[in-house]
């Protein structure tokens, strides 16, 4: 044991706190590996020795990696190098490394069962390690590689950073803290500003599919990464609370091969206070609040929840709304009660509503003369969503009606329920026309001439108003079928 090291303690990436003197069991030897992240030889040593943890343990040697990094970096290195052993994080003043006289990393020290040093290897020297250890290390090249200066000497002797010495945006990509686009690095100051006094350790629950815990600090980090202003954080929090509602089943949505994203619709005074776009181009580019709030919610799923595309997210194609899909309802252009009120909240409430859904499909209708004709056009556009023949669907379709279409309905005195019913009643096909490719048991059970509706219930049709004044366009987002994903609304604490 290094001089005076027995009583020193270090944090483990498994959440435990370990006393150096307590690492060693009876009759057990310990292999200490000192390393840090800026040393390529350290990474080589961790990658070669880390997976040998169980094999060494079988032969009476406990592998313990001591990484001169913050805990989160040590945890990431443990994951990246598949270290199957105890990993401890050591911070300044590096008392443990000093006790063992570690000036170069990697440094491997084998402690005998009496705590005395049986052997030391500095840098990567495969032949020496094979002599020292009861398990053979990798025969892969390189078999020898010199080490690097250990901290704190390494840090003190670095040359002053030049203009291109370190690119923090590239660092974010290397960490995997991205959805594929550049992000804002979540420095402690930025995250503290985002939290705005909220308790960073408060948990909103675990985020499927990887079951990472959504502490407010992590949600705030996602909001910073997404580019949110701190003022947006209450909306992000409400959106994350909604998507973690078990009835929303973000677990299924996050891992399915089908394409659903999480659509965030904002209602109430918070829309105007944060300048969310509910008008011209509401579903498109150009508005920071729309794009970053939706992106923050998705980053929570992808990063905190581990639902990264191609990893646990198994979507065959996905869609670009899985980067960000957030907009505000244009309550001012709507003759109807807003979605928030329809879902049971007060006139002045600010809310977010989460819907699992597909990418928007635009619907043009510049010719209909009656509201019923217009409802048919809009409704029939949805006929092809999910599948042209899978009728009825038992999941939510979101219709986003543009201003000119809404005005035609309003002029005729139609309520939102009238539009919903007209869509539901008109979009029907005889069963025989649906007996093609992917379809439902109901289609085969029905008489060939029986009319089958696109939806199993009119309540599957959700209608909101958004978009600019001009242009007879609306859109529909197809359903997230099979996920049993309820529509979830949460109030945003907001004082007007």
């Amino acid at each position: 044991m290094g001089v005076g090291s027995a009583e020193l303690t270090l944090e483990g990436v498994d959440g435990g706190v370990y006393r150096l003197g307590g690492l060693q069991g009876d009759e057990e030897r310990v292999l200490l590996v000192f390393a840090h992240s800026e040393c390529p030889t350290s990474k080589l040593a961790l990658a070669r020795l880390g997976p040998l943890g169980p094999a060494l343990a079988e032969r009476g040697v406990r592998l313990v990696c001591i990484v001169q990094e913050p805990l989160e970096v040590a945890a990431r290195m443990a994951r990246q190098h598949a270290i199957d052993a105890l990993v401890l994080a050591e911070r300044p003043p590096y008392a443990v490394a000093n006790a063992f006289g570690v000036q170069t990393v990697p440094m491997m020290i084998l402690l005998g069962s009496d705590g005395g040093i049986e052997g030391t290897v500095v840098g990567w020297v495969a032949d020496l390690l094979n002599e020292l250890l009861p398990v053979r290390v990798s025969d892969a090249e390189p078999r020898w590689k010199p080490g690097c200066e250990a901290r704190p000497g390494h840090d003190a002797h670095l040359p002053p950073p030049g203009p291109s010495a370190f690119d923090e945006l590239e660092d974010m990509f290397e960490r995997g803290w991205t959805d594929g686009l550049p992000v804002v690095p979540p420095t402690a100051d930025r995250v503290a500003a985002m939290l705005g006094g909220h308790d960073p350790d408060r948990s909103l629950g675990v985020v499927p599919p990887g079951m990472g815990e959504a502490t407010l600090a992590r949600v705030a980090a996602c909001a910073v990464l997404a580019g949110c202003k701190p003022a947006y954080f209450p909306v992000v929090l409400a959106a994350v609370e909604a998507l973690l509602d078990p009835a929303f089943n973000v677990h299924g949505q996050a891992v399915t091969t089908s394409p659903p994203g999480q659509i965030v619709i904002v209602n109430g005074p918070v829309r105007t206070a944060l300048e969310l776009n509910s008008g011209m181009g509401a579903l498109g580019p150009g508005n920071r609040a729309n794009l970053t709030i939706g992106r923050a919610a998705r980053l929570v799923v992808q990063l905190t929840g581990g639902g990264a595309a191609g990893g646990l997210d198994r979507a065959t194609l996905g869609h670009q709304g899985k980067i960000s899909f957030c907009f505000a309802e244009n309550e001012e252009a709507s003759p109807w009660e807003p979605l928030s009120v329809e879902r049971g909240f007060g006139d002045e409430a600010s809310t977010v509503t989460l819907i699992g859904g597909d990418a928007p499909l635009s619907i043009s209708d510049h010719r209909s003369k009656t509201p019923r004709e217009l409802a048919a056009t809009i409704g029939w556009a949805a006929a092809v969503t999910w599948s042209p023949f899978w009728w009825p669907v038992d999941a939510t379709s979101l219709f986003i009606l543009g201003g000119e279409h809404v005005r035609m309905f309003a002029k005729a005195g139609w309520s939102k329920a009238d539009v919903r019913d007209a869509i539901y009643e008109q979009v029907r096909r005889p069963a025989r026309e649906l007996r093609h490719g992917e379809t439902t048991p109901q289609v085969y059970a029905a008489h060939p001439e029986e009319l089958i509706a696109k939806w199993d219930d009119p309540e599957r049709i959700v209608i909101v108003v958004a978009g600019g004044e001009a242009g007879r366009f609306s859109a529909v987002c197809g359903p997230s079928l099979g996920m049993e994903a309820a529509v979830i609304t949460r109030e945003v604490p907001w004082n007007t």
């Binding site: 805990l71 994951r79 803290w177 690095p185 979540p186 402690a188 990472g212 677990h251």
Partner: protein
């Protein structure tokens, strides 16, 4: 530069896998229907093969393929089955 990680960096140890059984003869195999379309038909065929090899079977069904099985159902399977077979949904 130090950052606040958006990721839950805690390393979780995977549950150890049960040891494979040497034989299925006389064992009770739990067959979990995950409610995916036509999955039960596949399990029907599998059940016949298991019976041919001397295994007993017990059938379970989870409410939907798109969510993890309820804890009570997992406990029931563990209580009544020596082995379990389930599929993965897409």
């Amino acid at each position: 530069m130090e950052y606040v990680s958006p990721i839950d960096e805690r390393v979780r140890q995977p549950e150890p896998l049960a040891q494979p059984t040497a034989t299925i003869e006389g064992k009770t195999v739990a067959l979990l229907d995950i409610s995916k379309n036509r999955g039960a038909e596949f399990l029907d065929r599998l059940e016949l093969h298991l019976h041919d090899r001397g295994a007993k079977t017990i059938r379970f069904r989870k409410p939907t393929f798109s969510r993890p099985a309820p804890a009570e159902l997992i406990e029931e399977i563990a209580l009544h089955g020596d082995l379990a077979v389930e599929g993965l949904a897409d």
